[in-house]
Structures are given as structure tokens and as C-alpha cells.
């Protein structure tokens, strides 16, 4: 090798230590120039907002030293629609239409959060049937949402087939939800006081059939196809570790928090709807890496299928809507209601001044907190792992930008 460009190799300037992540002094986010003596420049890569792997319109500004991430910054706001401000001009019974468009993959749970908050203001009692219907549709929607995550997480790692199979199952679920509520994603089904309609005749058989095949055939297949794949395992194990302390400090909730070993689930800790009467387990991870987040979500789908069966079996009789005035004018006050959505604690903080519109409406989207944690987690990882870590946290831009 007489080419002067290669002298650097012969001089031994490149060698051991090059691939160890740069050690950052406490409090300092930017590594001082270059690896070893090379003094290569850092490269800033804009991932997104149109990048197919950043799940919607997330833009990550990643500063790279070679292949390693030095700093990562999430730039958000590309999907901002001003939902919180629009809500100040909406009547209480139309808040659900906004929540549908927040976390648009798991709309029922957002609607439920808004309905629960309004019910707290009104102090109405929801009939038991409505509670069971709420739990049933929530769990159906949770599986549909996790299936989207499952499919796209696989895509991030380079796998393709599982995405198509996940969409096939989600299609069956959306058909069921459409038959119940009238639309496939923007359900507008849960209202203050209950749910807008009872189950259509003959749907229980369809749900039972879906749950049986999903639980016994499709879900084990999904798990074997992606989780059983050694290449997938070797890529996701050990990356994107969020420790218990970090998870708590960042305010993570949902599967991301539980994968880090904290057993917190709104369904258990601040029960709502029919969850106190349902029998289910809350899966908890240990290491808090991408693999644990995968395991927790897969187990959640299994538990959701269990709950759906219980809901169908134990569905009580009675009205599905409490007596709520047509024009809702709650007394002045301030409430917070939360549900366990597919991504974590989706909360609605309502301030009422006694008029027919909320004075203030605040939407707590769990993905926002997961995204904040990413900025801390990503440095030190390879660029190729960045998309997988983003995928493993299942961030949803609709509820981050609102």
C-alpha cells in the first residue's frame, strides 16, 4: 500500500478503541472533536420528517461521529393541529372527535379519557353495560394498535412479512370496530355518559372467532416469525436500554415503563371502566432494552385477547348510556382523568368555567415523554440502531404534536 491515503492505517492511528462509544463528561452533550487522533468532523444527519422509518413526521437531528450517535435531538411539531386550542371551542360531547385524531391508531382510548373527565365534572354514574363495552372496545383497539407497532418495528429491523400479516389481522379488527362504531379509525363511539350504541346483533360470534384464531394461531405465528428470528434477536437485544431510574425520571408510562421493570398500569392502579372486574396480568420487563419492550407488548396482546373473551362472556344487560343532558354544561371545576392507552397513560385535564365549552383542555400524550427519553438514550448507539430504538418505543406523532 503505497497510496498516501492509507498511511494513516500503517501508522497505526486507527485501531483499538475506535468503536468504543465516546465517553461524555457529565453534563456535556457534545464530544470534543473526533475519534482518537483522527479529528474527523462530526456529521449532522437529518432523519425525517419524510424518512419512512421515523413513524410519521418525526425529525431526528442526529450528530454522528463515524457511525456513532453523539447527540440526538427530536424536532417535533410537523403534525401540529392545535387540538388543545380547538377544544376550547368544542362542546363537551364533541371532544372525542378531537381525541380520535390525537392518537389515531388507538382512538377509543383517547375518547374514553375525554369522556371520563367530562363525567367527573358532571358527576354522572355510568351504567355497567357501558363500562364493559368501553373495556371491550379498548382492548380490541389495543390489539389493533400493537399490531401496527409490531409490523412497523419489524420493518425497522429489515423484516417485511410480519407487517403484511399484522395488517391482515388488524383489518379483521377494524372491520369489527367499524361494525360496532361506524368508522374504522375515527370511531366517535365513547361519549360522556356511556357509549353511543350497543353492540350490533351477531358481532359477538365474530369477535369470538377472531380472538380464537388470533390467540391460538396468528399471535404465536407472529411471535415465532419475528421474535423467534435469531437475526432479529441479535439486533434488538441490549440496545436502547432505559433504566428504571431514567424511565421514572422522564415520566414514561405504558409498555415502555413496564419494560424497565416498573409495574405501573392505569388499569390496575387507577381503575376505570370494567377493569376492576376483569382478570388480567400486567407483564413487566427487566432490562428495559428494545427486546424487553417487544416482549411486554406481545404479552399485552395476549392479555388483551383474554380480556376480550371475558368481556364478551360477562357482558351485563341494561342501558348503554346514562342520562346526560343534551347540551352538557358542567359546573365550574378542574379534573384529570387518565386511561391506559396502547402507549401509556393518556390523560385529559379539563378546566370548566360552567359554560358549554371547556375553558382549558390539556391532552397528556404518553409518546411525548418517550421521545424526550430518546434524546438521552440514543447517544452512543450506532446509526443503524436509531430507527430500531425509535420503533421499539412506539412513539405516535399524532399525540405528540396534537
Amino acid at each position: 500500500m503505497s497510496d498516501p491515503r492509507y498511511e494513516i492505517y500503517e501508522a497505526g492511528l486507527i485501531g483499538e478503541g475506535m468503536h468504543t462509544p465516546p465517553v461524555l463528561p457529565a453534563g456535556l452533550r457534545r464530544a470534543p472533536g473526533g475519534v482518537d487522533g483522527l479529528r474527523t468532523e462530526h456529521l449532522v444527519v437529518n432523519m425525517g420528517p419524510q424518512h419512512p422509518s421515523t413513524h410519521g413526521v418525526l425529525r431526528m437531528i442526529v450528530e454522528l461521529d463515524g457511525e456513532e450517535v453523539v447527540t440526538a435531538e427530536a424536532s417535533i411539531g410537523y403534525l401540529h393541529r392545535g387540538i388543545e386550542k380547538v377544544a376550547e371551542h368544542r362542546r363537551y360531547d364533541a371532544l372525542g372527535t378531537l381525541m380520535d385524531r390525537g392518537d389515531y391508531v388507538a382512538g377509543i382510548m383517547g375518547e374514553l379519557a375525554a369522556a371520563l373527565a367530562t363525567e367527573q365534572l358532571l358527576e354522572v354514574e355510568v351504567p355497567p353495560k357501558a363500562n364493559w363495552l368501553r373495556s371491550l372496545t379498548s382492548e380490541l383497539n389495543r390489539i389493533a394498535s400493537h399490531l401496527v407497532w409490531f409490523g412497523t418495528f419489524g420493518l425497522d429491523t429489515g423484516a417485511m412479512g410480519q407487517f403484511l400479516y399484522a395488517m391482515r389481522d388488524r383489518e379483521a379488527l377494524l372491520d369489527i370496530l367499524e361494525a360496532i362504531s361506524g368508522q374504522r379509525m375515527m370511531f366517535n363511539y365513547v361519549r360522556p355518559g356511556g357509549v353511543v350504541r350497543d353492540l350490533p346483533p351477531g358481532i359477538d360470534a365474530k369477535i369470538r372467532e377472531f380472538v380464537d384464531t388470533f390467540e391460538n394461531v396468528y399471535l404465536p405465528e407472529h411471535d415465532a416469525l419475528l421474535g423467534g428470528n435469531e437475526i432479529f434477536q441479535s439486533r434488538v437485544k441490549g440496545i436502547g436500554v432505559i433504566t428504571r431510574e431514567q424511565a421514572l425520571a422522564f415520566g414514561l408510562t405504558g409498555p415502555n415503563l413496564r419494560a424497565s421493570g416498573v409495574k405501573y398500569d392505569v388499569r390496575v392502579d387507577r381503575p376505570y371502566a370494567a377493569y376492576p372486574e376483569l382478570d388480567f396480568e400486567v407483564p413487566v420487563g427487566e432490562a428495559g432494552d428494545a427486546w424487553d419492550r417487544y416482549l411486554v407488548r406481545m404479552e399485552e396482546m395476549r392479555q388483551a385477547a383474554r380480556m376480550i373473551r371475558q368481556c364478551i362472556d360477562g357482558m351485563p344487560e341494561g342501558p348503554h348510556m346514562a342520562k346526560v343532558p343534551k347540551l352538557i354544561k358542567p359546573p365550574a371545576g378542574e379534573v384529570y382523568a387518565a386511561v391506559e392507552s396502547a402507549r401509556g397513560e393518556t390523560g385529559v385535564h379539563l378546566v370548566s368555567d360552567g359554560s358549554e365549552h371547556p375553558y382549558r383542555f390539556r391532552y397528556r400524550g404518553p409518546s411525548l415523554f418517550a421521545l424526550q427519553a430518546l434524546e438521552e438514550i440514543l447517544p452512543g448507539h450506532l446509526l443503524a440502531d436509531v430507527v430500531m430504538i425509535i420503533g421499539s418505543t412506539d412513539v405516535m406523532m399524532g399525540e405528540i404534536d396534537r
Binding site: 368544542r90 362542546r91 360531547d93 364533541a94 372527535t97 412479512g161 400479516y165 391482515r168 383489518e171 372491520d175 367499524e178 361494525a179 360496532i180 362504531s181 361506524g182 368508522q183 375515527m186 366517535n188 353511543v196 350504541r197 350490533p200 405465528e221 415465532a224 416469525l225 423467534g228 428470528n229 435469531e230 437475526i231 434477536q233 343534551k326
Partner: protein, 156 residues
């Protein structure tokens, strides 16, 4: 053994291949919509072809996006004429709140989902134009007739 999972994955993919497609060949085949499916808002009519709408404006007030509009003329004898019942389909989110609110079942959510247009002007639909609004009395009459018929269980 490393690689067993890969072979198993192949087996699963093959099994899925044999299951056959679940898609439909869309323009040639169409899926059946469930009865509750919500698409564009459509007016409904009495059997004699006159619109059921009484121009009470409830739906206009309820719509969260303020996209229904009603121009009404009131005659001297208090009967109403609908000059134009406007509907901006391009802004409608098909939430169904207007249909639920209508006290006279004068509108419904249609099942026509092929709503794309090439001319933006077509996004401003006119549901009803230049017709007499039904009166609440007519609705009462119809209701009485229907219940009477059900009671007798006879001629149509």
C-alpha cells in the same frame, strides 16, 4: 440451534402463502359495508318524496366543524321554505353528531364511500334546495299513521 428460528419463519411464511389472499380486487369487487358505516351526510324523504327536514337548525348548531348551513325563508303563514341546505363535504369528518341530533331523522349517514372529486366546487354539496320544509305536524301525522297501521296490521 442458531438458525432454527429462521427455518421456522420460512415455514410460517409458506403456510401463510397457502392461506390465499384476503384482499379484494377493488374496482371490480366491493366489500359490503356494515349497517352503521358512516360516510357522507344525506337527506331523507317521506314516502311521497317531500323532504323530512323541518329546518329546525339543530344540526347546524351541533356540527363541531360548522359545515352545515341552512338558508330558510319564513312565509307569512309561518311555514318555511328551504332555499339551500348546504353541506361542505370536504370539511366533514363524518362524526355523525348531526344525524344523532336531528329530532326528525331528516338526515342520515350514507354508505357511498367513493367521494373523490376532480372539481373542488363539488365539495360544496347542496343537500336540499328550494323546497318546502316539512312541518312537525306532518311528522306527527305520519307517526300516527304508522302506529295505526301497525295496530291494524293491514293494507299499505
Amino acid at each position: 440451534m442458531w438458525g432454527a428460528g429462521l427455518l421456522n419463519g420460512l415455514r410460517i411464511t409458506l403456510r401463510n402463502m397457502l392461506r390465499g389472499p384476503i384482499t379484494v380486487k377493488y374496482p371490480h369487487e366491493k366489500v359490503e359495508l356494515p349497517e352503521r358505516a358512516r360516510w357522507a351526510v344525506e337527506p331523507t324523504f317521506f314516502e311521497d318524496g317531500s323532504p323530512r327536514c323541518t329546518a329546525c337548525l339543530t344540526c347546524v348548531r351541533v356540527c363541531p366543524d360548522h359545515i352545515l348551513s341552512l338558508d330558510v325563508e319564513t312565509r307569512e303563514d309561518k311555514s318555511k321554505r328551504i332555499v339551500r341546505f348546504g353541506y361542505e363535504i370536504g370539511a366533514c369528518m363524518m362524526c355523525g353528531l348531526c344525524v344523532e341530533a336531528c329530532p326528525f331523522d331528516a338526515i342520515e349517514m350514507g354508505h357511498d364511500y367513493e367521494l373523490a372529486v376532480t372539481d373542488p366546487a363539488e365539495l360544496r354539496r347542496t343537500l336540499l334546495a328550494d323546497v318546502d320544509a316539512a312541518s312537525a305536524a306532518k311528522h306527527r301525522e305520519e307517526k300516527a299513521k304508522a302506529s295505526g297501521e301497525a295496530g291494524e296490521g293491514s293494507d299499505a
